[in-house]
């Protein structure tokens, strides 16, 4: 799986100033469009599949700074 989400990531970064009023919520982005902001990951995912079907979309938890997930175990990842 090497699908590219760069367009959606760029959209997220460009829209971040206005999204910051919803910190901690989940945003759904398709290409250069913000589909909506939702309280939970589940709600965001349900909306995205209903709206975009099996086409590509992007879900991101809104945060003022990029969050890092930490792992004490080492492993190889499938990088984006």
């Amino acid at each position: 799986m090497t699908e590219n989400l760069n367009t959606e990531i760029e959209t997220y970064n460009s829209k971040l100033p206005e999204l910051l009023k919803s910190i901690g919520k989940y945003v759904v982005i398709k290409d250069e469009t913000v589909g909506g902001v939702f309280d939970t990951y589940n709600d965001a995912l349900k909306y995205a599949y209903k709206e975009y079907g099996l086409n590509q979309f992007f879900i991101k938890k809104i945060s003022p700074a990029e969050q890092v997930s930490y792992f004490t175990r080492d492993f190889n990842t499938c990088q984006a």
Binding site: M1, E3, L5, I9, Y41, N42, L45, K46, A48, Y49, K50, G53, L54, Q56, F57, F58, I59, K60, E66, Q67, V68, S69, Y70, F71, T72, R73, D74, F75, N76, T77, C78, Q79, A80
Partner: protein, 146 residues
């Protein structure tokens, strides 16, 4: 609160889980007339040192899921830095002995390579945050309540 009591396997907190297409994606696949791939079984390590849950690529391949997110991760080999990884939405099922168990309808997971370490994934704190975990090392078992 339902509980699972699991013996430690070779001193490790290993647990059998099933990974499947997330419920919202299943509904979209049904609407599109596409067959839903069967769940994949795997042996996962309960890892309190993992921020989030990871699934080996071999299990993910069989599900045919496209990425729906990206997170930055830091491991010992990233030497203090981090890099971006795709995340995939899956359904996660931890069975008990009564043909029921703990179901998470949609969970974002990181695709990794863990097979060489003898496991198919890590159960991270994103799942453990919703559970009570008791690790009884002297009696060599763990209890996971959900």
């Amino acid at each position: 609160m339902p509980s699972l009591n699991i013996s430690l396997s070779s001193g490790q907190p290993l647990i059998q889980v099933f990974v499947a297409v997330s419920l919202p994606r299943q509904q979209a696949m049904i609407a599109a007339g596409i067959e839903i791939p069967p769940p994949k079984a795997g042996t996962f390590l309960i890892d309190t040192g993992a921020s989030c849950t990871c699934v080996d690529q071999s299990l993910m391949e069989g599900l045919g899921i496209a990425p729906t997110g990206v997170i930055n991760i830091q491991t010992p080999s990233t030497e203090g830095g981090s890099h971006a990884c795709n995340t995939y939405d899956v359904m996660f099922f931890i069975p008990d002995n009564q043909n029921t168990g703990y179901v998470i309808e949609a969970l974002p997971v990181v695709e990794t390579h863990l097979k060489t370490q003898g496991i198919d994934g890590l159960i991270g704190r994103d799942i453990l945050d919703k559970c009570l975990l008791v690790y009884n090392g002297t009696a060599s078992f763990l209890t996971l309540s959900y």
